[in-house]
Symmetry: C2
Subunit: 208 residues, 2 copies
């Protein structure tokens, strides 16, 4: 399928990925707007000037990180929402899925939560675009559900946006609870599930 690229292009992509990985680690304790290009190259063990072969600036690198963090998440979102039925177990499974994702990709989640309102405009824009895509995809899935009969397209997008924002809030809560005792993570799990349930109830009675 994919063209086997030469050992030269391969090495280049390897360095590029090393820069992204190093940046992600450094960004756990600071914001992108304070991330220095030298800092990143130093962490990788490469000359500062090599940075320019891959990114115009750290803001540019940030945009690439957004793609890495959110780009591959679309199928996951779609299938999660599409598995219809508003049962309590379904909500629990969704919350559990968020918890798992935070556990396996904490740095990516932290990056998105941090830079969504961060100090670097192009990165904010990239995140906003991705989240809007998420909302539209959730809306399309919700539209297929019989519960959505009689809903206007606008109201469906309103609900989808609410769900997407709620997922991000939940993810951020799990992030803060990562090093906390298990009971704290349980508290977050129950809180998030009840909030989703309340929204689902509001959804079912929306047209009355």
């Amino acid at each position: 399928m994919s063209h086997t690229l030469g050992i030269r292009q391969a090495q280049k992509q390897k360095t590029r990925q090393a820069l992204l990985d190093a940046a992600l680690v450094l960004l756990e304790e600071q914001s992108l707007s304070s991330l220095g290009l030298r800092e990143v190259t130093r962490a990788v063990g490469v000359a500062p000037t090599a940075f320019y072969r891959h990114f115009r600036s750290t803001a540019d690198l940030g945009v690439a990180l957004v793609e890495e963090a959110l780009g591959s998440l679309h199928p996951m979102i779609r299938t999660t929402v599409s598995t219809a039925s508003d049962s309590a177990e379904r909500i629990d499974r969704t919350v559990e899925l968020i918890a798992r994702h935070v556990e396996t990709h904490p740095a990516h989640v932290r990056f998105v939560a941090r830079e969504r309102h961060g100090g670097v405009q192009p990165v904010r824009q990239a995140i906003r675009a991705q989240l809007e895509r998420f909302a539209e995809e959730v809306r399309d899935e919700l539209a297929k559900d019989p519960v959505s009969e009689g809903w206007s397209a606008d109201d469906l997008l309103m609900l989808a946006t609410l769900y997407v924002d709620q997922m991000l809030i939940t993810a951020s809560l799990f992030l803060e609870a990562l090093d906390a005792p298990a009971e704290e993570r349980d508290r977050v799990t129950r809180l998030a599930a009840r909030q989703l349930r309340l929204i689902s109830i509001g959804r079912r009675h929306w047209l009355e």
Copy 2:
């Protein structure tokens, strides 16, 4: 009531406020973690070393900004929520109130949204503490409402947290729409109102 402080203390507080104001302006286009102390003093027109007379570090200044941005907001929140009745006009008035606050204090709102998940731990902690206080106050007001009869304290806090987060999301949306055409701000207004309405509906049917 307040003791008239000497011309010396007065001048000191004036400089301190100038530092806070200058920092807030600089923070509109960057994050706190990249804000330099020299940058702030330069904007005020004061020697870099003068900074230390007021703050240990820029992180320390950030914590002071949190107090300035959120400290005086508690009475406003209380009265907004306490004015009972879930009528549509009440929701509209709440959304309008948020819009007004964002218009009159855009830099403060931006700062809180940005640093809530930002790269400076003490500031994140200060914001979290304030938001938790908000949630508890909202919970206490909700408890007085007859609609809350039969609700557990835990569920009330769950709903209060949902409201607080939703207010912040709404404020952040208004912020992004500040320089946008009036129709975009109207769109945000209607979106936020419908989301609050859906939550209110969920609230009314919670105990079924």
